[in-house]
């Protein structure tokens, strides 16, 4: 398989459309780095959990959340380098097959935050191919608005696990910092999802 499509989406607009009219049943885990700014600018909510470190851990975190909350829909929103660093989580998702989990990878073929060096997906690595070979139920390559609309529906309605590879341009929209303290981010996520008594657990 190749990723050689010519058309690419602008990342921020694509993420905002993906998260538009967002359901209260959707939980989002986003990883380093621009995926976080994209999610935060789409609308601040305690039901977004951000990993500003432990790179490679966003997708396994979404997996643990999805298995703990089978009645909710869970989205891992990750860049291609974040996902590549934790790529083995795709194989584990293929073993466990959580129907409510989606992984959406924003793929610009670059290490955008570190100077725009060409990443593995920018040469040969095909993360959608890896997801398909790992056993994801639904795999889509998206590079236009209608693809984003379909992916938005799949994130909410499955059948999962869903993998969406969104081919984006290498532009870097302005940074919007979220709450950076991981303990606060976790506490307010748990309070919003599980109720105030969860903070006493």
């Amino acid at each position: 398989m190749t990723t050689g499509s010519q058309n690419r989406l602008e990342r921020r607009g694509a993420v905002h459309r993906l998260l538009a009219e967002r359901s209260a049943d959707l939980l989002v885990v986003a990883g380093l780095g621009s995926a976080i700014w994209d999610a935060e600018t789409a609308g601040e909510t305690p039901l977004n959990f951000y990993l500003l470190g432990a790179m490679g851990s966003a997708t396994p975190t979404a997996l643990g959340l999805a298995t703990a909350q089978p009645e909710k829909r869970v989205l891992a929103l990750v860049g291609d380098a974040e996902l590549a660093m934790g790529m083995w989580a795709l194989a584990t998702i293929g073993w466990r097959k959580p129907e409510n989990l989606s992984v959406v990878c924003l793929d610009n073929g670059r290490f955008g935050e570190t100077g725009g060096q060409v990443s593995h997906t920018g040469v040969n690595l095909d993360l959608a191919g890896v997801a398909a070979a790992s056993g994801f139920q639904t795999v889509r390559r998206v590079n236009d608005d209608s693809g984003i609309e379909e992916l938005r529906s799949l994130v909410m309605n499955g059948p999962g696990p869903v993998f969406g590879l969104v081919e984006i341009t290498a532009n870097m929209p302005p940074v919007q910092m979220p709450i950076r303290n991981g303990a606060i981010g976790m506490a307010r996520f748990r309070e919003a999802l599980l109720g105030p008594d969860s903070l006493k657990e």
């Binding site: 643990g64 999805a66 703990a68 083995w88 194989a91 584990t92 991981g182 506490a187």
Partner: protein, 173 residues
């Protein structure tokens, strides 16, 4: 062949998991954990699945805690190094993290390839501010593991129980 040891703890560990109200058990398999893994896989109230490697265990357990679930990860000492980087996630969020690892590369080890990790991992964990509780003999395993779990979940700490080869039985060739 394996050294003869009292292995009754291998059945009792499952009861410890239940006592600690753990409902997710993930593992990178080890022969020392085989009985526990089988019992967890057979329990419909425990979500039990394998990982490719130990790095993933941190995210999976923190994600489960985000969703209101207590979890435990089973691994072998030789792979703990794979988790060190990801364990920053636990320090940064204050989530509990509870691991039970069987040791290789120490007590009567026959395979020298196991010793670089086995000999250094307790100090590496301590350097990374991870609590290490060691079960040196078969009689230690259950009380040390239960205390480790209570410490992890009640005090929101990353805690490893390291089970010595003296308890699992070193392979003898």
């Amino acid at each position: 062949m394996v050294e003869a040891v009292d292995s009754s703890w291998k059945d009792q560990l499952y009861e410890t998991i239940k006592t600690l109200k753990i409902s997710q058990v993930v593992y990178v398999p080890d022969a020392g954990h085989a009985k526990l893994i089988d019992r967890c896989l057979a329990d419909p109230d425990i979500d039990c699945f394998p990982l490719v490697n130990e790095f993933e265990s941190v995210g999976v357990c923190v994600g489960a805690w985000l969703g209101g679930r207590r979890s435990c990860v089973l691994m072998q000492s030789s792979g703990i190094g794979n988790a060190i980087n990801a364990l920053g996630l636990v320090h940064s969020t204050g989530a509990p993290f509870f691991a039970v690892a069987t040791m290789r590369g120490e007590w009567g080890e026959f395979n020298g390839w196991q010793t670089p990790m086995g000999q250094s991992i307790p100090r590496m964990l301590e350097a990374a501010n991870i609590v290490v509780n060691r079960a040196e003999t078969a009689a230690d395993v259950i009380p040390v593991t239960e205390a480790s779990g209570r410490l992890a979940f009640n005090s929101y700490l990353p805690v490893f129980t390291l089970i010595s080869q003296r308890a699992t039985g070193a392979k003898v060739f």
